[in-house]
């Protein structure tokens, strides 16, 4: 379950920054073409009509960058889980096309893995609306981070005390879920051994 960036008209309707805003300052752009390297510097300036103290800006930037990294890491986990799910379906399909019968044990294990992937994915991000059992489901880590990024980044101010506490909470949740996914992935070596034994390609991640 990968969260895809919006495309086309949907993205057009939300033209704006698609990540945390970088802080003001002098940046450099460099085009590298083989041996040729050309560089220009440019300034990013704050909206002169909206004032913000440097320290507040720094605090805001620190949090939005960290939250953005967390969200990106969450997305990478989701992509890994999506990939595993696709590989399992692929292995089953390959077995069928080769006229093989997967053993009951392996079949049961694969089913269990798919269920676990669903559970882990469901903890990381909400299912697509069409797949949700009901409306009004609680947001998951990915959505919580989106909301935090939006609320912290929508103003020229430092994060509030409540936002800082919430960020720490999400940081802990992120660490926990990352650990959980990593542990589970590590445990799949046993499943790979079974796949190998039945002459099916192993899972990669």
């Amino acid at each position: 379950m990968k969260v895809e960036p919006k495309k086309g008209e949907e993205a057009e309707a939300e033209r704006g920054p698609t990540g945390p805003r970088v802080p003001p300052g002098r940046y450099r752009a460099r085009v590298v073409m083989g041996d040729v390297s050309i560089e220009e510097s440019f300034d990013v300036v704050s909206n002169p009509a909206a004032r913000i103290a440097d320290s507040d800006l720094e605090a805001q930037n620190r949090m939005t960058r960290s939250a953005w990294k967390m969200q990106s890491a969450t997305n990478r986990l989701l992509q890994t889980l999506d990939s595993l799910k696709a590989q399992i379906e692929d292995r089953k399909s390959a077995a069928r096309s080769l006229g093989k019968t997967i053993s009951e044990t392996l079949d049961s294990d694969l089913k269990g893995v798919l269920e676990k992937i669903e559970a882990l994915s469901g903890a990381l991000a909400m299912p697509e609306l069409k797949d949700r059992p009901a409306v009004g489901e609680a947001p998951r880590l990915y959505e919580k981070l989106s909301d935090l990024l939006a609320s912290v980044g929508s103003v020229n101010a430092a994060p509030t005390e409540a936002q800082r506490r919430y960020f720490e909470e999400l940081n802990r949740e992120s660490l926990r879920l990352t650990g959980e996914v990593s542990s589970y992935l590590a445990s799949l070596t046993e499943l790979n051994a079974k796949l190998h034994a039945e002459e099916l390609p192993v899972l990669l991640w």
Binding site: R15, T18, G19, V22, V32, I38, E39, F42, V45
Partner: protein
């Protein structure tokens, strides 16, 4: 999802070295920010009988537009044709996929543009084929035989500013493949209207009109013109004179579809305005002498008859008036839409459904005209002049429009949807023209109405103060009645050094140093002051003094950016006046300009930054029926001039010249045929439409001093912005290089937040540029995949975003970085 940063990328690659300057720039994109809220003049609207979804609009100078969803959205169909002025659209009866477009509006006002004949589409406007009649210039009507659609008739006015033979009624028997001229009086009479009897298509009516416009007057009407009838499909014609005046100006003629014996003629005439025939035009009876149903004869004089009721008719003029008693009495309708009506389409299968076209665009009624919707999503703005401030974070841009006041709005905003109609505000009314923002308070402006009515407006408090140095209201009398006279479009020009200092010019130059509170007279009369050209306009039928023909006036003024004492004034009667001492003494240097006839209007004077003695001057002779561009440069304070406009296209007469403020080697020309630029002092000119700028007249342009955007004020399609003109200005930096990265302008960090929601599709949204920095670079050739090519962005702390893959192809892109 990978990290995104606050950067956007402009990528472009060059074509071969020998190619034009604009080739490597060809994918740089203009943004059409509208506005659409005030619309623009429409010459014709045509619907499809019984099909409420499809409607075509012919704009006076904005091309052809089509909706296939009843006006919720519109698509321009004429972006790439040679001209943008539309006279009439005709749909083939029973087959609306076939349409004919007669180019060149026939409402022959002072700012009218020209066409180049007839176009035909057989695929609902997706493509067009040019069918000739190229020198007709203005086409008033096209009618198609409902029983034999191969028979097509074109009513051509011909040249508006002089005689020419390609005018009259033309007939095609092969769907426009070939034409024969079947009605022609002489080279000074053209067709103002053409009508076909729907039951007997061999019967046609044509109104022949003598009209000619000169810079200082118009002539409308003759005894030789009038109403003509054919009963043999246009082969022969006879003049209809029973019951009609001898002296007639513009005439609109319409057959009552429900009873074709009834024919109406609405005329510019001293002996009545509405005439009715009960015998297919053989004789007429005067029904009305109400001048209000014609208003300005040369500009209106048109009517429609209800398809189902021969006594129910609509006259199109300053207002729409409805008669339900065959023209005996009228009542004004459509009071809530823009005035000045030029078109009305009534669905023959549902006469309650009507589309109107006027100086403000189009409107629609579904109840026979009792109530109207103004369709405010067509960006047809006819800017005469534009201006911009420097407010933060985004500058505002505005301008004056034909019959649509002076407006201003943001060049971009923090709205995720784009620039909204509500972002635009009217500053002052009337026809709008030139304007300046207060240098330290952009909510205070100096703007003007036609004829030099300059006003200072506080847009917060809505206070509007008339601050003209000459208080009497122009108009209502000939120019000779006033001590000071101002052009229809009088110069208001801020000093490039001090925004509180503003010049305002009539036949004399005035200067304020306190933004309009007080004025000093800075010159004597700088014009020829030719009393022959200061009289009442019009005749021999009707006369008018609207200031549209006020002549012997200054129409272009500038203070040199190189020397504040050097002032230039160009007049509409051909003087190029120079002062080198801040207005103490003036010298007319036009005699040193070789190659342009005397008394040609000086459309623009542009002093150069390169030196106090350097200036560019354009002359506009289109009102003398000479469409050639005339551009000159002097480098010695006007002692000599070199012609530099020969490389511009024929008929691209010039409205404005602008020297690029960051690269004075570049000169831009806004012409009747679009935007051009020269990089070599006029030895060659190149079209600069790049991506998105359609065929349209360009009346004004500016380079924003802070943001370096190229802002183009079109007369028919609103405002266009090319974000960051650096690649145009620094193209020379790419010479001999395999790759080049252009200087990058500042990027503003701002918030994006909607202030609206659920807008639907029936709204014009001006697109914002991509969020972030625009990084522009040049690749001389396509870079193979196995060669390293990347863009890196480094933060102030030395951290890198990326690298990002960038486009290797030989084409131009603009996209966000880091994706």
């Amino acid at each position: 999802m990978r990290n995104r940063v606050l950067l956007s990328v402009v990528l472009f690659t060059s074509q071969a070295v020998a190619e034009s300057k604009t080739s490597p720039l060809s994918s740089l994109e203009f943004r059409n920010i509208g506005p659409a809220i005030m619309g623009g003049r429409v010459a014709d609207v045509e619907g499809v009988p019984g099909s409420p979804r499809v409607v075509y609009v012919g704009a006076a100078s904005g091309g052809v537009w089509k909706t296939d969803d009843g006006g919720i959205t519109w698509k321009p169909l004429f972006d790439n044709e040679a001209v943008s002025s539309i006279g009439d659209i005709a749909l083939e009866p029973g087959n609306p996929e076939v349409l004919y477009v007669g180019t060149g509006e026939s409402n022959l006002r002072n700012s009218v543009s020209f066409g180049n004949g007839v176009y035909k589409s057989t695929d609902g406007g997706a493509s067009f084929r040019h069918l000739g009649l190229s020198d007709t210039r203005h086409i008033s009507r096209i009618v198609i035989d409902p029983k034999n659609p191969q028979r097509v008739y074109v009513g051509a006015f011909g040249h508006a500013f002089g005689p020419n033979p390609e005018r009259g009624v033309f007939r095609s028997l092969d769907g426009g493949g070939s034409w024969e001229k079947v009605l022609y009086i002489d080279d000074r009479h053209g067709v103002s209207d053409l009508e076909i009897d729907p039951r007997n298509p061999n019967v046609l009516y044509a109104a022949l009109w003598h009209f000619e416009r000169k810079p200082w007057t118009i002539q409308s009407g003759s005894e030789g013109g009038g109403l003509f009838k054919s009963v043999d499909g246009g082969t022969t014609w006879k003049k209809l004179d029973q019951g009609l005046p001898k002296l007639l100006g513009r005439i609109g003629v319409k057959v009552a579809p429900s009873r074709p014996e009834v024919v109406y003629a609405l005329a510019e005439s001293r002996e009545g305005t509405l005439f009715r025939s009960e015998d297919r035009g053989e004789s007429f009876t005067k029904i009305s002498s109400d001048v209000g149903i014609v208003s300005r004869g040369f500009y209106f004089a048109d009517l429609r008859v209800d398809p189902a009721n021969e006594n129910r008719l609509f006259t199109l003029a300053g207002s729409i008036q409805l008669s339900i008693d065959g023209g005996k009495s009228f009542e004004r309708i459509s009071r809530t839409t823009h005035g000045d009506y030029h078109s009305l389409w009534i669905d023959p299968e549902d006469p309650a459904r009507m589309w109107q076209g006027h100086d403000g665009g189009v409107g629609v009624s579904y109840n026979g005209g009792r109530s109207w919707e103004f369709v405010s999503n067509l960006p047809l703005g006819q800017f005469y002049s534009i201006f911009a401030d420097s407010r933060e974070p985004f500058y505002y841009v505005g301008g004056g429009l034909q019959d649509n006041a002076t407006w201003y709005g943001p060049s971009r905003n923090g709205e995720p949807f784009g620039i909204l109609p509500d972002d635009w505000r009217e500053i002052s009314n009337g026809d709008g023209f030139q304007a300046v923002f207060h240098p330290s308070d952009p909510e205070v402006t100096l703007t003007e109405y036609q004829g030099g009515r300059i006003v200072r407006t506080d847009n917060r408090t809505r206070e509007i103060q008339f601050v003209s140095p000459y208080a009497p209201t122009m108009g209502g009398a000939p120019a000779s009645a006033f001590d000071v006279r101002f052009n229809w479009n009088a110069p208001i020009v801020a000093s490039p050094r001090d925004g509180m200092t503003v010049y305002f010019a009539g036949n004399k130059v005035f200067r304020t140093r306190d933004f309009g509170s007080t004025w000093e007279t800075l010159s004597p009369d700088l014009t020829t002051n030719d009393s022959e050209k200061l009289g009442t306009a019009g005749g021999p039928v009707w006369f008018e003094n609207t200031t549209a023909e006020y002549h012997c006036t200054i129409v272009s003024f500038a203070e040199s950016p190189a020397d504040a004492l050097v002032l230039w004034a160009g007049t509409d009667d051909g003087n190029v006046q120079l002062s080198r001492d801040g207005g103490g003494r003036w010298e007319n240097v036009v005699a040193n300009v070789r190659g342009v006839p005397a008394h040609s209007a000086v459309s623009h004077v542009e002093p150069s930054r390169k030196g106090a003695g350097v200036a560019y001057v354009s002359f506009d002779r289109h009102l003398f029926d000479d469409l050639r561009p005339y551009v000159f440069r002097t480098e010695d304070f006007g002692r000599s001039f070199a012609e530099i406009g020969r490389g511009l296209p024929d008929k691209a007469y010039v409205w404005v010249l602008r020297e690029d403020p960051r690269n004075p080697a570049i000169l831009y020309a806004g012409t009747e045929l679009g935007l051009y630029a020269t990089w070599d002092s006029g030895r060659s000119w190149e079209k600069l439409h790049l991506k998105n700028l359609p065929t349209v007249s360009v009346h004004d342009l500016l380079i924003h001093p802070r943001d370096n955007d190229l802002v183009v004020g079109t007369h028919g399609r609103g405002l266009f912005i090319l974000d960051d003109a650096t690649p145009i200005q620094r193209l020379h930096d790419t010479a001999g290089k395999s790759a080049h990265l252009f200087p990058i302008r500042r990027a503003v960090r701002f918030q994006v937040k909607p202030t609206r929601y659920g807008l639907g599709d029936k709204i014009h949204l001006g697109p914002n540029p991509p969020y972030g920095a625009l990084v522009s670079y040049f690749l001389k050739e396509e870079v193979p995949e196995d060669k390293e090519l990347k863009l890196e962005i480094w933060t102030p702390k030395g951290l890198s975003f990326g690298p990002s893959r960038i486009f290797r192809k030989r084409r131009v892109f603009r996209e966000r970085a880091g994706t």
